[in-house]
């Protein structure tokens, strides 16, 4: 009975796995096919002449490295700045008190409900007037003020740290800045890592903001990938799209796989209390 139930669980899981990983397999499969094979009838399930030339062409047909560098620049700038700024604000909300704090915190939480695009249209117009479109200044500014979600994450983490840490430091004459920098921040590396990874992958995957704010030369891989691979007639080149998409997705997947143990375990054990 138990044995039968367990094998049913395995069967369901393996079935789900096939469905969930199938798309990755097809992406890779398409990326390895020669251009002519894409239209082969009946369909070639496995490329008859697998080759890596699509990857080479995907890198050269558009300025892949250039766009990847743009993506990397934006994502790194934003991730580093937003993590620092969010830790900074999170510490204030967690450990300090002042009149108006609760109001400010409620405003912070309610901004998470705003559709991002609602502020993006006027932001675009404002930045255009200030000649800040086609630059990465918007990402620097967004980074510097922190993200509500990450501020919340840091606040939760800092709130749970023992008071004694702080008291000992105050008796030793430390100011709040020193306490934050020397005592709290060094202990919060799990949140720092989570924040860096989350914010990096948001920006790496973001489509709307770069599509609005950046022209073709400054745009990111996410935008260029969506329409960059066409032949001279404007028809999409499936295998180049696939090869480009593989190279675009793999860094994010790799990053996740490296940190997943802490990630999944952290969410599963401490996420809902």
């Amino acid at each position: 009975m138990v044995f039968r139930r367990r094998s049913a669980v395995y069967m369901l899981l393996v079935g789900a796995l096939v469905l969930f990983l199938g798309p990755f397999a097809w992406l890779l499969d398409t990326a390895l096919k020669a251009p002519g094979e894409l239209r082969a009838l009946p369909i070639h399930w496995w490329p008859h002449h697998p080759s890596l030339s699509n990857f080479r062409d995907a890198l050269t047909q558009i300025d892949y490295f250039g766009y990847a560098r743009n993506s990397l620049t934006i994502a790194t700038l934003y991730a580093v700045l937003v993590t620092m700024a969010s830790a900074w604000a999170g510490y204030g909300f967690a450990r300090l008190n002042a009149p108006g704090k609760r109001f400010i915190f409620n405003v912070l939480l309610s901004t998470m409900m705003l559709p991002q695009i609602l502020t993006l249209i006027p932001t675009y117009l404002l930045f255009a007037k200030l000649h800040l479109t086609n630059t990465y200044v918007p990402w620097v500014l967004w980074g510097l003020c922190g993200a509500p979600y990450l501020i919340f994450l840091f606040r939760q983490f800092f709130s749970n740290m023992p008071k004694e840490l702080e008291e000992a430091a105050i008796i030793d004459g430390c100011g709040q800045f020193r306490i934050f920098w020397r005592i709290f921040l060094p202990q919060s590396w799990p949140v720092i890592a989570t924040s860096l990874i989350l914010s990096f992958s948001w920006t790496w995957g973001d489509y709307i903001a770069p599509a609005l704010l950046l022209d073709d030369a400054h745009t990111t891989l996410a935008v260029k990938l969506a329409y960059g691979y066409v032949n001279e007639h404007g028809s999409p080149l499936g295998n180049l799209v696939a090869a480009g998409a593989v190279m675009y997705v793999v860094p994010v997947l790799a990053l996740f796989l490296i940190v997943q143990r802490g990630f999944v375990a952290g969410v599963a054990t401490s996420g809902l209390k």
Partner: protein, 347 residues
């Protein structure tokens, strides 16, 4: 990311107790020291919260005010002859048949995709919570699609559901069934829903976290009482999981009404092309993009977004009202720690 706002606003700040803690010593001197400490703390708080507040004012509040103003004008963003048109844009939102039908389509998409994703996530969570081998591996691999950036996911699904070279039609062909144009009506909406379901790993992780919080003793007691698996699931697991499921319903709805995935699935090989989206996937957000990019109607697009925001607020409020009684809280959430289910990222 709209993840935490649901449960947290009412939560009192945990640092109150820290601030009120008496310092060393007694009497007047201690009082003075304490009050100067409180003042210093207050200043420190403003120093720490200041950057966010300034950023909020400049990058959120000001643009929002501007968006409100835009929504009352016929601005196209470029020419200077835009002028105040009052509520005309809002009137148009509620009378333009295309706007209303895109809104209705968004409603249908939400009504289908949110429960399906919730159910799929719950089923997977129950499965990967069983005492089986390679549990961690299953969890990781099933979660993997949820971290794929939306553009990558959309491109992958475009390849799979391509009429000529896609795996979907290749599979049908192997079964001697004629393929169809998946990315066109009437099938396109199902491709969109399938794509949404592909990210069910997120729901799985959140539900799994909830499942692991159910006290084991309850299951043991139920087993002793002779309850079968289904009874255990419906009488113990589901009620105890209801806050987590409720949370997912709210955030799922908020995310679904803002979905712009159809744009990415059907994007033409031209930048910013929104004309090629099949009717079935012409959701509200796509209509906003069309008005904004293709027609340059900044004012009208802003009005549409304000209406969407009000709808989000209204739905959130209604879901809260309606769920009262259906959501079961085993213990009162600790005042210091608002229950805060975490999802793992921007989807």
């Amino acid at each position: 990311m709209s993840t935490e706002q649901i449960t947290a606003p009412g939560a009192p700040s945990p640092s109150g107790e820290t601030a009120a803690r008496p310092g060393p010593g007694t009497g007047v001197r201690a009082d003075r020291r304490r009050s100067s400490l409180t003042t210093r703390r207050a200043f420190s708080f403003y120093a720490f919260a200041g950057p966010w507040v300034l950023g909020f004012l400049a990058l959120t509040a000001f643009p929002l005010g501007y968006a409100l103003w835009l929504s009352l004008t016929n601005s196209d963003g470029l020419s200077n002859n835009s002028h105040f048109v009052g509520l005309a844009n809002y009137r148009e939102v509620f009378t333009d048949p295309e706007t209303l039908s895109s809104l209705a389509r968004t409603g249908v998409f939400t009504a289908i995709s949110v429960p399906l994703t919730l159910a799929a996530g719950l089923l997977l969570a129950v499965l990967v919570n069983q005492p089986i081998r390679a549990r961690g591996l299953f969890r990781t691999l099933l979660y993997l699609p949820a971290v794929v950036p939306p553009v990558g996911a959309a491109l992958t699904f475009k390849l799979i559901f391509d009429r000529d070279s896609g795996a979907a039609n290749g599979f049908l062909d192997a079964l001697h069934i004629d393929g169809v144009s998946w990315l066109m009506d009437p099938y396109a909406r199902w491709v969109l829903i399938t794509l949404t379901l592909w990210g069910a790993g997120n729901a799985m992780i959140v539900s799994l976290a909830g499942l692991q919080d159910v006290p084991k003793e309850l299951y043991e007691a139920a087993r002793i009482d002779g309850a079968n698996t289904w009874q255990t699931f419906t009488r113990i697991t589901l009620p105890l999981l209801s806050p987590v499921l409720f949370f997912q319903v709210v955030t799922g709805i908020i995310a679904a009404v803002q979905s712009f995935l159809p744009l990415l699935i059907s994007l033409d090989p031209t930048p910013r092309g929104v004309s090629a989206v099949p009717e079935g996937n012409y959701l509200f957000m796509i209509h906003v993009f069309a008005q904004y990019f293709a027609n340059g109607r900044y004012g009208y697009a802003s009005a549409m977004l304000w209406v969407l925001f009000l709808i989000i607020v209204l739905i959130t409020f209604l879901v809260f009202k309606l769920s009262r009684g259906a959501v079961f809280y085993a213990v009162d959430p600790e005042p210091d720690k608002p229950s805060r289910p975490r999802t793992l990222g921007g989807k």
